[in-house]
């Protein structure tokens, strides 16, 4: 290999400047610079803004936990659900949060397999976001079962009641899918963290930090005999996570698709849910990364406009897929000639003939998810942080409403008008949902404070000097083209 690179190429290929790849780490930074800038985020004194953010988010998290305790001690009657609308905000929130997690796994696994090198500076934070989102998601189905202390019945544990889970039920598939997803995500995330924890161990000034990072770094020494297996393990975990992430939201969609309810009973659900999950997840990645980037200006050269631009393109793509799914549902409702399905889509959702109680939510969803991301066709909008942030906020709102539309409009007005019921959330329900944002942000703040939020060892691989055929005497432009 080294011989080939040193031999003069027969034909000198010249890359025109406009086709040259933009370097992923701008300003031609050194390896030590990367270590320094990422590690100092953890090492330096806690910033004032961090304490302010923490003191805002952690009481909200606490409020959420209090709502959960209140609900468990009083029963699901404290929610606004009724005999017709048995699933509402709880399952909406569950699907919303679990969907957000998907972007992290897409970045860490699918973009790894497709050799998208730009993923390296955002994968760690996105994966952390996945874990915290799944934590928030897990709360809702657990308390939604009503008798929370019986939730262990979901696990196949032999017991004296002679009760065994029904493995033919999509709800049980969901239990397996979500718990596998969380476990595998933790394993993948921790495997990726080990070399960076070793960096923090070796830089630690105090004995306590050295001890704690040292314990979790497992004695990593960066030897090639370790890296050899490590790279294979990373590849395998990426390969395992790729079908896993596609399966999780497919299984979530089976909860709906296998029922006979109009609006739920469609075969388009699995791909539609997966695209929506990635769409909403990328919006949430940008929602938390853009402010983090603003606060830590030293990582400007690691998370560049190029990264934001690429994420905006994924939002545009997946948003358009979601838009296609919405229109296809409407088309099939018309073409399928099923009066109940037609009613759900044209009357309950679109509000024709004035019968849509929740039609406004359908239009909110359409505007936020389909119209607003179209702004990203324009390059100057994709690299404008304010515009990106605003569109991402719209997408966050829109993706929550998508699940609300699917769940509540379908349930509230189904087959028999005599069984139709209005639904509105109770205060406890609203505060629980707000509380999960507190839990999510508190966990993310703690992550930013105590763990390297950019995968240092992985960013180093994509720098030109990491290439063993790189020669510093060549110009940086030539190295970037290499």
């Amino acid at each position: 290999m080294s011989e080939n690179s040193q031999a003069a190429p027969a034909v000198q290929l010249k890359t025109p400047p406009e086709l040259a790849r933009v370097p992923l780490v701008t300003n031609n930074r050194s390896l030590g610079w990367i270590t320094d800038k990422v590690s100092t985020i953890v090492e330096e004194r806690t910033g004032r803004w961090w304490w302010i953010a923490f003191l805002i988010c952690s009481p909200i998290a606490l409020m959420g936990l209090c709502c959960v305790i209140y609900q468990i001690s009083n029963g699901v009657g404290v929610w606004g659900e009724n005999k017709t609308v048995g699933w509402a905000w709880d399952i909406t929130n569950f699907v919303f949060w679990i969907g957000i997690g998907h972007a992290g796994t897409l970045i860490s696994a699918i973009l790894f397999l497709t050799r998208q090198k730009w993923r390296t500076s955002i994968n760690r934070a996105a994966e952390a976001m996945t874990l915290f989102a799944v934590v928030c998601a897990g709360i809702f189905p657990a308390i939604h079962v009503g008798r929370f202390w019986m939730a262990w019945f979901l696990a196949p544990i032999p017991n004296s009641y002679g009760i065994w889970p029904n493995f033919r039920s999509p709800l049980l598939w969901d239990v397996f899918a979500v718990s596998t997803y969380f476990t595998v995500s933790v394993l993948f995330w921790y495997t990726g963290l080990v070399p960076d924890l070793a960096t923090l161990r070796d830089r630690a000034r105090g004995p306590i930090a050295r001890f704690i990072y040292g314990v979790f770094a497992l004695g990593w020494r960066g030897s090639n005999r370790q890296w050899r297996h490590y790279e294979m393990a990373y590849l395998l975990l990426a390969g395992l996570s790729t079908p896993l992430v596609l399966s999780v939201h497919s299984v979530v969609s089976f909860d709906f698709a296998t029922s006979i309810l109009p609006g739920w009973h469609t075969t388009i659900f699995p791909p539609y849910f997966v695209a929506g999950a990635i769409f909403g997840g990328f919006a949430m990645v940008l929602t938390i990364m853009l402010p983090a980037r603003l606060l830590y200006t030293q990582i400007d050269d690691l998370i560049t406009r190029q990264h934001v631009d690429k994420m905006a393109k994924i939002i545009l793509l997946t948003g358009t897929i979601v838009g296609y799914a919405y229109l296809m549902e409407l088309f099939i409702a018309w073409y399928g000639a099923n009066p109940y399905e037609k009613f759900t889509f044209f009357n309950a959702r679109l509000g024709l003939e004035g019968k849509g109680w929740y039609a406004w939510s359908y239009y909110v969803m359409m505007f936020c998810n389909v119209i607003s991301p179209q702004l990203f066709w324009i390059k100057s909008m994709r690299t404008n942080y304010v515009a990106v942030f605003i569109v991402c906020m719209f997408v966050n709102v829109g993706m929550w409403f998508e699940r609300f539309v699917i769940i509540v409009t379908s349930l509230a007005q189904d087959f028999l008008p005599s069984s139709w019921r209005h639904y509105s959330p109770s205060t406890t329900e609203i505060l629980t949902f707000v509380g999960t944002f507190g839990i999510f942000l508190t966990l993310f703040l703690l992550f930013m404070r105590f763990l390297p939020m950019i995968a240092m060892s992985e960013v180093k691989i994509v720098t030109p000097q990491a290439d063993p055929h790189h020669h510093p005497e060549t110009s940086p432009e030539a190295a970037a083209n290499h």
Binding site: T35, L218, L236
Partner: protein
């Protein structure tokens, strides 16, 4: 009082990934066997430069995944077919109910494979191992930052305190140091 210290090996530092790769090729060609390189990131082509083959970590993962599939098959079929043979959802209880169990098969296969990957990684890399002689060399800390190192162990049959030192210096290694055990 003279303190007896056992020698672990000799370490040398190199300037860049490229220098380290070329040096490693020479160490390999000299037929050293008990040696290693320490780098902040995996270097492309280093396995070949060290004369190491492809990692065989995928074997335990395949076995783990197969055990996962088998576990799922037993977990779903034994109760459905033998313990509680009941018709649920209008689906049969014998082998014909297989499609309803596919999600469980898939999830447990992935779960067991992922655990096999991580445990095989730990076992094959002999981790956790919080003490290792190379940590006695202070400069090795740079291996997790921006340093590139070669360490040749004294267990190697070709090892000689003087000749190995000269050899590493000849390869362009700096800070060539004797590492104590």
């Amino acid at each position: 009082m003279a303190e007896y210290k056992k020698v672990y090996g000799i370490g040398a530092e190199f300037n860049s990934a490229a220098d380290l790769l070329h040096a490693a090729e020479k160490v390999r060609d000299e037929k050293f066997t008990k040696w290693d390189v320490h780098t902040p990131f995996p270097i492309h082509g280093m396995d070949a430069a060290m004369g190491l083959g492809k990692s065989w970590l995928s074997t335990p993962v395949l076995i783990g995944g197969a055990i996962g599939t088998l576990t799922a098959a037993l977990l779903t079929f034994v109760p459905s077919w033998f313990i509680y043979p009941m018709i649920v959802h209008g689906k049969p209880f014998n082998w014909a109910t297989l499609p309803a169990f596919f999600p469980i098969f898939f999830e447990l296969t992935v779960l067991f494979s992922a655990f096999s990957t991580v445990f095989a990684l730990l076992i094959m890399n002999q981790l956790p191992k919080w003490y290792h002689p190379v940590f006695n060399w202070d400069r090795i800390k740079k291996a997790t930052d921006d340093g590139f190192f070669i360490v040749i162990e004294c267990r190697d049959p070709k090892f000689s305190e003087t000749k190995t030192r000269e050899f590493l210096e000849g390869l362009g290694g700096t800070n060539v140091t004797l590492i104590q055990d």
